[in-house]
């Protein structure tokens, strides 16, 4: 199985995502109040449409790395 990321790295990554989340809130809020015509729909549409497939790609990679296989081995 592929080596896992360390807990420290995961924490750093989580804080980065948290900052991205807060920044996204400000962007969405500002664009909505400003009545954004083009940027808001393109930003929202692109972000939403890509989120699932990118996660699915990473998920398939995890499956190949054995996230389910571990349990099979334990069963044997």
């Amino acid at each position: 199985m592929k080596k896992d990321m360390s807990e420290e790295k995961k924490t750093k990554l989580a804080y980065t995502w948290a900052i991205i989340g807060l920044a996204s809130s400000i962007i969405v809020g500002a664009l909505t109040t400003a009545g954004s015509n083009q940027v808001l729909p393109i930003f929202l549409g692109a972000a939403t449409i890509l989120f699932g497939p990118i996660t699915a790609f990473l998920y398939i990679r995890e499956v190949k790395n054995g996230v389910f296989k571990v349990e099979e081995d334990e069963d044997e």
Binding site: S36, G45, T48, I49, T55, D75
Partner: protein, 481 residues
């Protein structure tokens, strides 16, 4: 109004049928893996990693309330719902992702797999029993979710709504009872992808129809200027009520089950912060689609906002993608309902029957019993759809409001309050359950103070007072023991 059945194509049908077949097949494939023991069935042997957690977390957190409910809010309240609910949801839930989830996963012993188990660990068995019993009524919310899903099937197929509720309910019972969280780890991911793509396509559909969002916002502002303001004309107390409802996930049993299923605390931190960003985008799209319903179908929006929302979905999306969007709604319903069936089964079998009546029950028997309970609860929920015919918002208000009002203080204080006592946990839980009923139904929400806010304050006061009174006594007992 749009004739849904007329524009529903064969391709849309094929997408829905294929979707159901795949979901059932996953249940069958994952059955063996989930049958080992309760840890395997309920928390997937604590093996789930970041991308898997993103799928199971997002699909279960964002349900038909996030789609139809927020769209209804967009129709009836305008952009303010983004500022008083959607954005606060992201901000207020960050501590849950970054601190509380990892704390629960890393510091809590292995035998704690459900929320009542957590109460037993932090307080005592008496509090566990009250929590287990208190968790059962909010499961009626599943009936509202099922109603939202069944209504869509009925709209597009013209079939009897009750038949639609039954079909949807039976499919969920089938794959959940067979495969437990192992199955949901696969189906939730598929459902999450469908939800994500469908929301993105809808956003671009709205963009194409209105040639940008500018003209949509202008038209909404012309209908009601308040709809384009940050507060939407709501008072401070009403806004506070909405903001507090964003805290519901702190008291949500699904959250704690997902935390327990992760491989490590770090996985929770990363995955749940990602989920919240997705939630921000996804929810905002639904609110704006609801606003579009107000413009495209003004009469229908006044009579039945959810019907107007589906009208927008069906007119703005091309053939095939309509099927995908209906599949997204069904995904949202099924992923949340299936997760809660799983939890309801565990609460009854693991937390009540095994803990208090049959302590010697074997692992296999416990899993079997949980499956039987899931089937029974599933049938009951299909029948209970009768109570939620008038919209999902009401169900979210009562069931979500009750959870956050009654459970949040004993949960959070139990995790972080240094002078916690078993008596404080027990009495704050018991008295707040009673206080919720009194404030909401007997007093009729006096002074307009939302029940969730009043109950959280009451619960915190009870907790601190009882803890002060009992801390020394319990400390002495612990020292003697």
């Amino acid at each position: 109004m749009v004739n849904f059945a007329e524009i529903w194509s064969t391709l849309d049908w094929l997408i829905i049928v294929a979707y159901f077949i795949v979901i059932i097949a996953v249940g069958l494939v994952m059955r063996k893996r989930a049958s080992k023991n309760m840890k395997s069935f309920f928390v997937a042997s604590r093996r789930l990693t970041i991308p898997v957690l993103v799928g199971v977390g997002a699909a279960s957190w964002y349900d038909s309330w996030t789609i139809v409910g927020l769209a209804e809010c967009g129709t009836t309240m305008g952009i303010c719902i983004i500022f008083i609910y959607v954005i606060p949801t992201l901000i207020l839930r960050l501590p849950l992702a970054v601190w509380i989830g990892p704390l629960v996963r890393n510091k809590i012993p292995d035998w704690v797999i459900t929320m009542p188990d957590l109460m037993a660990y932090m307080y005592d068995r008496k509090t566990k029993l009250v929590m287990a019993i208190g968790m059962l009524p909010p499961f009626l919310y599943e009936a509202a979710l099922l109603t939202a899903g069944g209504q869509v099937i009925a709209y597009v197929t013209g079939m009897n709504m009750w038949v639609a509720f039954a079909i949807l309910g039976i499919v969920i019972i089938f794959y959940t009872s067979l495969s437990g969280l192992w199955g949901l780890a696969v189906t939730d991911m598929m459902q999450f992808v469908v939800m994500s793509v469908a929301a993105g396509v809808l956003c671009f559909g709205l963009y194409g129809h209105f040639h940008g969002f500018g003209s949509l916002f202008e038209q909404v502002g012309a209908v009601n200027p308040d709809f384009m303001t940050i507060t939407g004309g709501n008072g401070f107390i009403a806004i506070l009520g909405w903001v507090i409802s964003a805290l519901a996930m702190y008291a949500n049993s699904q959250s704690y089950q997902r935390f327990g299923s992760s491989r490590s605390g770090g996985d929770i931190k990363v995955s749940y912060t990602c989920i919240m960003i997705f939630g921000l985008f996804f929810s905002t799209v639904m609110v704006i689609a609801g606003m579009a319903a107000l413009i495209v179908y003004p009469e229908a929006a006044a009579a039945a906002p959810s019907e107007a929302f589906w009208g927008v979905v069906f007119t703005m999306l091309p053939i095939g993608l309509r099927g995908l969007f209906v599949a997204a709604l069904l995904s949202a319903v099924m992923s949340t309902v299936s997760a809660d069936y799983l939890i309801a089964g565990a609460v009854v079998m693991h937390d009540i029957v095994k803990s208090f009546f049959k302590p010697n029950l074997s692992d296999k028997a416990e899993v079997f019993g949980t499956r039987v309970v899931i089937c029974c609860i599933g049938v009951f929920i299909i029948i209970a759809t009768y109570f939620w015919q008038d919209g999902i918002s009401k169900a979210y208000y009562y069931c979500g409001g009750f959870q956050v009002a009654a459970f949040i203080v004993p949960l959070m204080f139990g995790l972080f309050y240094k002078k916690k006592t078993a008596a404080a946990g027990f009495w704050s839980l018991v008295l707040t359950i009673g206080a919720y009923a009194v404030w909401q139904f007997i007093l009729g929400i006096p002074w307009g103070i939302p029940t969730n806010l009043a109950c959280i304050i009451f619960s915190a006061i009870v907790y601190i007072v009882v803890a002060k009174l009992t801390y020394k006594g319990e400390e002495q007992q612990r020292t003697i023991a």
